[in-house]
């Protein structure tokens, strides 16, 4: 868990690139607020309701998002940028490596589609192998061994010992891996 530290001044030093993305993000917050009002108008209030009904609080939250989002748009336009999150492994001076982010997201998506046909351990091993490779771990065979061992250990601990029903896939029939 990490919270960011504001640097001196507006924090522009830590913020990367042009503020286009940041502006879009603030605008998305505004639009969620708008969406909250539009979609919230469709919430039915039963006539029997004795209290303020199910619509009032959603409106309040949408109002909060709208006001805060607008404030943020204003701030970003005036050049007050957010301070990007810091961390021991984060190099704030590095350029954003979108390719690696894309690869990781892709492997998580792939994993979601593999759990059912292949079973959890195999799908998890593929995710670990792919993610470690994307992040630059070499050689591939050590990644593979680590991935398989980790997947088997997790399947054994969580499905076998703790009774979490992870589909065992090809391990079906081995009692220690749950099922």
């Amino acid at each position: 868990m990490s919270t960011s530290v504001q640097n001196a001044g507006s924090g522009t030093a830590a913020a990367p690139g042009k503020p286009v993305g940041e502006l879009i993000f603030a605008l998305i917050i505004v639009s969620i607020g708008v969406l909250g009002f539009v979609a919230g108008a469709g919430i039915q209030t039963p006539p029997s309701a004795s209290d303020i009904g199910p619509r009032a609080f959603p409106f309040a939250v949408s109002g909060l998002l709208l006001v805060v989002g607008a404030g943020l748009v204003f701030q970003v336009l005036r050049g007050h940028r957010g301070a990007a999150d810091e961390g021991e492994d984060v190099d704030l001076d590095a350029k954003t490596d979108w390719l690696t982010v894309g690869k990781l997201a892709g492997f998580v998506l792939l994993h979601a589609f593999l759990i059912v046909p292949l079973g959890w351990p195999l799908a998890a091993a593929i995710l670990f192998f792919g993610a470690a490779w994307s992040l630059g771990a070499r050689p591939w065979w050590r990644n593979l061994v680590t991935a398989v061992v980790l997947a088997l250990v997790l399947q054994f601990v969580f499905a076998g010992l703790l009774g979490v029903s992870l589909p065992p896939g090809f391990l079906e029939g081995f009692g220690v891996f749950g099922g």
């Binding site: 868990m1 990490s2 919270t3 960011s4 530290v5 640097n7 990367p16 993305g21 607020g33 919230g40 919430i43 039963p46 209290d51 009032a56 609080f57 959603p58 939250v61 909060l64 998002l65 805060v68 404030g71 943020l72 701030q75 940028r81 957010g82 301070a83 990007a84 810091e86 961390g87 021991e88 492994d89 984060v90 190099d91 704030l92 590095a94 954003t96 490596d97 690696t100 990781l104 997201a105 492997f107 998580v108 994993h111 979601a112 589609f113 059912v116 959890w120 995710l127 670990f128 993610a131 470690a132 992040l135 630059g136 771990a137 680590t146 997790l154 703790l162 009774g163 029903s165 992870l166």
Partner: protein
């Protein structure tokens, strides 16, 4: 409720917590907690979220003891990282890094580790004693308050959490609003009306809290770190000598007062929703710096042991303090406390003022396990520090790949459907952009968890007053809560500002430029290290290599 009763209940708690099985669970919790505290990119809140599946098979007491162990363990582990790792870390440990990292570079790493561990133990134990005696009284008071007062307490909790857990007030509030919004999706608990489900059956049941938390903490963090991964070797400052010789008489003499002062600062700050341990460590550091005299004062910024002892004690005392509002009011003020509240909800244990009465065995076993856990942590962190240093060196690709695997495990085991893994990814991408643009994550998680409770209390109060909002501030108790807490809020905001100025000042000071980054040039930081480093640590000087 008299204190003798409480003492007896605490003793019963010990009788439960000392059973071999629970001792084992506590040990497991503090081990995992220290490990994740040491590891960058993963913290106690994320770990509790990731381990939520254990609530399916463990009984409540065991699971809560594990989670409490993780919470305390994380506080110990963090100091090891900030003292020994030659890269800047998180803001809650940045104060320790200021002096601790300098001590380590000057070959005094062992003393820094020792004063942090012993200080954490002293503070953790005293704060747990305070928790045992303060909490029942707060709970006894809290059972008398009604929904109106609750609304007052929660509004203030929202405000402080949103405004203080981060560097920008607006961004914190936006994060809080996003959490509240996601919590609205699904059926309204009171009228069974669908809200923001857009006709989708997947959204009708709402979006699971654990799923969102895991996505924000784990996937968001992994994607964010991946986007800016620090390459090159991991530089850990070596520690020499046997651990028994670490804390010399002189060190002890300089440390014990900061330990106690840190405790006295940390516990109350943790209790009130003032931004958690972060503010406590800063306050302790600032006061130690002010109180130091002569030669010791000059050491500040170059490795003063008081600057490690005080903040580390404050950090752990604040952790115990946070449990007071959590256990007595059901109000979490940090992300980890929010995840512990989720664990209670999983077991359908109502968290709030009734907790001390309805589940007294569980609560007292939990408190007793904190004493035990603290003792275990002292042993784990002094003689066994070498193990944690090894963990610190785990290759980062494996660390973050492993975090992703744990995240999909946690997501899949919520409902056992792969769709949840896809939702995990989507919310994770949201978490990535939040980190990128400086939005704090913790307010969102707190909003997500407290939102539904807040709405039901709000509507209950308004149903009683027949829709008259003035009733929300008319009760004398509620009015008092608002006034008192607005003062606390204003003070905390002021403090936060002071802290920022202070950090900026430290950053501007070339001495610390390699701790607080982004403001000084690389050559400046290099020169600063060269002036403070002793010949004992040549391999760790080159910060520029990162």
């Amino acid at each position: 409720m008299c204190s003798v009763d409480n003492f007896l209940l605490l003793m019963e708690g010990f009788a439960t917590a000392m059973q071999p099985m629970y001792l084992l669970f506590a040990l497991g919790g503090v081990l995992v907690g220290t490990a994740v505290g040491v590891l960058p990119g993963i913290g106690p809140a994320m770990t509790v979220a990731l381990l939520m599946p254990i609530t399916y098979s463990l009984e409540p007491t065991a699971a809560i003891i594990v989670f409490a162990g993780i919470y305390y363990g994380g506080m110990y582990g963090g100091s090891t990282t900030s003292i020994l790792l030659n890269t800047p870390g998180e803001s809650s440990s940045i104060v320790t890094a200021l002096e601790g990292n300098k001590m380590a570079k000057a070959g005094r790493g062992a003393a820094a580790l020792a004063t942090a561990a012993v200080g954490s133990f002293v503070a953790g134990t005293i704060a747990t004693v305070l928790l045992s005696f303060v909490a029942p009284y707060v709970a006894a008071f809290a059972v008398q308050i009604g929904p109106v007062e609750y609304v007052a307490l929660m509004i203030v909790a929202f405000l402080t959490v949103g405004a203080l857990l981060g560097s920008s007030v607006l961004r914190g509030l936006a994060s809080l609003g996003l959490g509240l919004f996601i919590a609205l999706v699904g059926f309204d608990a009171l009228t069974a009306q669908q809200r923001y489900t857009f006709g989708s059956p997947f959204l009708a049941d709402g979006i699971d809290v654990v799923l969102v938390a895991v996505a924000l903490f784990a996937v968001g963090e992994a994607l964010y770190v991946a986007s800016r991964l620090r390459h090159g070797p991991i530089k850990v400052i070596p520690v020499t000598g046997g651990w028994t010789s670490w804390l010399r008489k002189e060190d002890l003499r300089r440390s014990w007062k900061p330990w106690l002062r840190g405790t006295m600062i940390g516990f109350p700050v943790g209790t009130i929703p003032a931004g958690g341990a972060d503010v406590a460590t800063f306050l302790s550091y600032a006061s130690e710096r002010k109180l130091a005299k002569g030669e010791h004062k000059k050491q500040f910024g170059k490795g003063a042991i008081e600057g490690v002892a005080g903040p580390e004690a404050a950090n752990n005392a604040a952790a115990a303090g946070v449990l007071v509002p959590l256990l007595t009011l059901g109000i979490p003020t940090t992300a980890t406390a929010a995840m512990m509240l989720v664990a209670f909800q999983r077991y359908q244990i109502p968290v709030g003022p009734q907790l001390f009465e309805s589940n007294s065995t569980l609560v007292w076993a939990l408190i007793a396990s904190l004493y035990v856990g603290n003792l275990m942590l002292l042993v784990l962190n002094l003689p066994l520090v070498g193990i944690w240093v090894k963990i610190l060196q785990i290759p980062r690709p494996y660390l973050y790949a492993g975090i992703l695997v744990f995240a999909v495990l946690g997501a899949f085991s919520v409902n056992f459907t792969p769709i949840d893994v896809i939702i995990l990814l989507i919310v994770g991408i949201l978490g990535f952009f939040m980190r990128r643009y400086g939005y704090p994550i913790a307010p969102m998680v707190v909003g997500l968890i407290l939102g539904p409770i807040f709405e039901s209390q709000l509507r209950r109060s308004l149903a009683i007053s027949q829709g008259d909002p003035v009733a929300l501030v008319q009760s004398p108790v509620a009015a008092t809560i608002y006034v008192v807490l607005i003062i606390i809020f204003a003070l905390s905001l002021l403090l936060k500002r002071r802290q920022r100025q202070f950090e900026a000042m430290v950053a501007a000071n070339a001495d610390a430029s390699d701790v607080v980054r982004g403001t000084a040039t690389v050559s400046g930081s290099d020169a600063a290290v060269a002036t403070t480093a002793t010949p004992a640590d040549p391999p760790n000087r080159e910060d520029t290599g990162r």
